[in-house]
Amino acid sequence: MSELRAENLSKSYGATKALDGVNLTVSPGEFLVVMGPSGCGKTTLLLTILGVLRADEGHVYIDGKDIDDLPIGERNIGYAPQDFGLFPHLSTYDNVAFGLRVRGFGRSEVDARVKALLSLVGLEGLEQRKPSELSGGQKQRVALARALAIDPCLLLLDEPLSNVDEATKAEVKANLRETMRRTGVTTVCVMHDPEDALELGDRIAVMYMGRVIQCGTPRELVENPGGEAVRRLLHHG
């Protein structure tokens, strides 16, 4: 379990400030939900932490170590994008095994870990299915298992429930909560639905126009929303 600290992160696309001095600390094992309206910089924040984007200013620390110059592959951060990003040519098993194989794990170790992870996310029996043969909820679980396979110090989830149909959403959410509880990995999760955020997050960071305008527990946010933007967001998403 690791601690994540984002310090004064700023990132601009031309004249648009996607991140404007973001400060954030996520404690070891904590599940932090980042919420905010479209275009407020949530995904930019995730991609900057992941290392795809480089901040114009500020730093990202994991366990106190500045990781700004570390390539993506050396950060050991698990990432599941909004569309799940499953490799379409690989089976469920091979998707989950990908990170272990590139890291040179032996066949039996890969097998044991993949089976354990598929069991954890409740996907036993679907090992040979291709992503095109899976439902939205199942894809989300494969993406989660794949991100967890590398034993990451940090997990980044971008809208994990947005491509899941309403019928299975409750089940997927329960599975997500249980998986995070059992693995205890520090997680930053972008969500737009306030109901999901309040239900899943240990804490919620509310972003607005590139800034974190309030960060607190679901209870703190509900009982004491810091301004009209937070209140509106909690009521309308």
Partner: protein, 245 residues
């Protein structure tokens, strides 16, 4: 409009069939003619080699063009993809003849490798264009970033993600490169000449035999053989692509 265009595109092939149709023994004669067989061999083998080489160079080049940012990238892309398709093939042949011909430190003029070099310059842009488009598409999907975040190095991204997800496009690129290499004549003729069984390619032998009244019908029969061969090969490529899809 569509019907008129389809007719326009097919009528020459139909005419070729009708013209030869009066004497099928000509086709048999052409198939037994050593010069025509030699030209067929040079053309078909060179087209396969050029197709394979083009894919071999297109993959690393497309990777660099997808993932590297450098000054003049757009110009380099134009010079690698669009320009060779508009640069007159005769000029290409002439440039190679001066650069790699008699009097230069490396002289491969009028050899089989010269056939490959000339055809590769003219045809490889098709393979590169297909590969580059697909690599950029995959990059846009972010699958390479996922692979990297999981610890994948360049070789893993290339061999485990980009290439497997590009097989249809690579086959398509190979197929068009092959077709273009089969049809290319001017650059090859100038740089490699027309030595039977060595550098004489099919379009050259058709042109040369069609100049004499005695062998004109033979040229016609040979053209029909080449057309059938190309259609069969291209349909085969299309079938393979369809199966993989």
């Amino acid at each position: 409009m569509a019907g008129a265009f389809i007719l326009f595109m097919l009528i020459s092939l139909f005419y070729l069939y009708v013209a030869v149709g009066s004497s099928w023994s000509l086709v048999a004669r052409a198939l037994l003619n050593s010069r025509i067989l030699g030209a067929l061999w040079v053309s078909v083998s060179a087209a396969f080699i050029v197709g394979a080489l083009a894919i071999g160079v297109a993959i690393p080049t497309a990777y660099v063009l997808t993932y590297s940012e450098f000054r003049g990238k757009s110009l380099i892309e134009t010079l690698l993809i669009e320009f060779p398709q508009t640069f007159p093939p005769a000029t290409v042949g002439l440039v190679y003849l001066l650069m790699l011909g008699p009097g230069s430190p490396i002289n491969i003029a009028y050899t089989y490798p010269a056939v490959i070099v000339a055809k590769l310059y003219v045809s490889a842009p098709f393979a590169l264009s297909f590969t580059l488009r697909r690599f950029r598409e995959i990059h846009g999907m972010g699958l390479d970033i996922i692979a990297e975040s999981l610890g994948g190095k360049t070789r893993h991204v290339l061999l485990w993600v980009l290439i497997p997800l590009s097989t249809i496009d690579l086959l398509g690129g190979f197929s068009l490169t092959w077709a273009r290499a089969m049809g290319e004549v001017a650059a090859t003729l100038i740089f490699a000449g027309a030595i039977p069984w060595k550098t004489e390619i099919f379009p050259a032998v058709v042109y040369l035999t069609s100049q004499s009244e005695e062998t004109k019908s033979l040229a016609l029969a040979a053209s029909l053989i080449a057309a059938v061969l190309s259609i069969v090969a291209l349909m085969l490529f299309r079938w393979i692509v369809g199966r993989r899809r």
